[in-house]
Symmetry: D2
Subunit: 152 residues, 4 copies
């Protein structure tokens, strides 16, 4: 990495702060005619990692339930493409909760290959909203407690 993205101060410290990793195997249908993973597919890896973390935290079922009032939406998303990814690679998608706001959270992403080389870094903000009004919905105390152990 020639130049660090704005959301990383110290690369080694940043890498060391990831404690949750979701394994993802690159599918052939995710490559494109240039022979690598298409730029649009990496956000599927981010989503896969993020949701795996939400499941581990125990918060995903509530959002995915049909009769739930709340859902989680993406406010912004950023990816830095460090190294080309090819078909068949076994990736580890690291996700961490960087900050917990009133009804939002900032997540960081780190995707490494089997040689532990950084392929992707990223960040993004998720917001909890009311399914009907689509207005932001503050975290309740139970949710805050669930996230606490995963905050860096």
């Amino acid at each position: 990495m020639k130049r660090l993205p704005a959301y990383i101060n110290d690369l080694e410290a940043w890498k060391a702060s990831f404690h949750f990793f979701q394994p993802v195997k690159v599918r052939f249908s995710e490559t494109d005619a240039f022979g690598h993973v298409n730029n649009t597919k990496v956000f599927v890896y981010f989503e896969e990692g993020r949701i795996a973390l939400f499941e581990k935290i125990g918060i995903m079922k509530e959002w995915a339930a049909r009769d739930s009032d709340a859902m989680i939406v993406t406010a912004d998303l950023h990816c830095d493409y460090i190294r080309q990814i090819t078909f068949g690679e076994a990736l580890q998608v690291g996700v961490k909760v960087e900050k917990l706001g009133h009804s939002s959270m900032e997540l960081h992403y780190l995707v490494v290959n089997e040689q532990e080389e950084i392929c992707l870094t990223g960040r993004g903000t998720m917001v909890q909203v009311n399914k009907k009004t689509e207005r932001s919905l503050p975290w309740n105390e139970k949710m805050k407690a669930l996230f606490q152990p995963y905050l860096t």
Copy 2:
């Protein structure tokens, strides 16, 4: 085509029976590392053509509405890959209603390129179901009347 698929009796007559075509431009993200459109993406073209037909018939809005009781699901789907498709090709996706059942319909698909060469042929059955019970929901008279002009 060396051998005709089972759902085509006479290729020229079959081709001539398509009257609805939806233009679709091939996206780069739909190609794979073999340099052509990935086999899984052609069903997106079928869906795009099918839904465009449903919209023209005036039946799609009802299914897509959040408070609708009915939705339309895929019962089976078949594709014959006749000619490789590459990035940037301007396709025409032909769709026709082959048969109207009690709560189902059989659709046929024909995808041609700008040189009017056949790239894909296909068929599939769609079923109208109740959103909650997920049981089949018979066509009402209004719907049958809407489909009538599109039956071959």
Copy 3:
């Protein structure tokens, strides 16, 4: 299943003939606004299962290599949708080599959920072709030997 697809004679015997299964977890981005896995995404599961089998057989690397003369393309593909699939389900994608032709092979697919309920069944033909001429390329003796243990 009310009526068996044409490629299944005896359902129990057919199910019992699958010996290779690839686990696949359903991603949120694979659902659609009807709340289930979108019909177009199941072919990604078929591809995932098929390629995992090719990898186990030891034949995929050769096709995926940039300097290889051969690649494998889809000639036809069929899916029967038996049961709706929802986000988060842990699927098993069964794949078997039904028949080995001169330069082609017929594959069968069986997708079950954690309760071992059948969600999808399918079949399709793959053809080995020359990357440059795109004409069919017969299996060599080494390849035939590799496939032998996986033929039903």
Copy 4:
């Protein structure tokens, strides 16, 4: 928009600086179980708009050609999600070349719906690289001239 993203100084001036728009119709398979376009799919719209611009400029064919030495890869990509997008919406994907570097370019994106409401804004860096070495490849004079009329 409560707060402007860092890459926008004056929203009205920024909006007025887009002169190239690519129409994109939202597909049903791009929605997810929350009922809106899935967060990962918006980057397909960005790619569609970007490539349409490259085609208009006359530079895409060269990159997509099998025997070309050069290809274009994504260095980073950012999206701000302003307004939920639903099935069937007819979007306009605006793309502009914000800056032309030595071998890179910064692109800005603006996606509006039929009511000209902003749905998405974004930015990203593309780099021209050598297909074999994957090292950056400086723009030649012909390319610079092609881009000139599209620089803001």
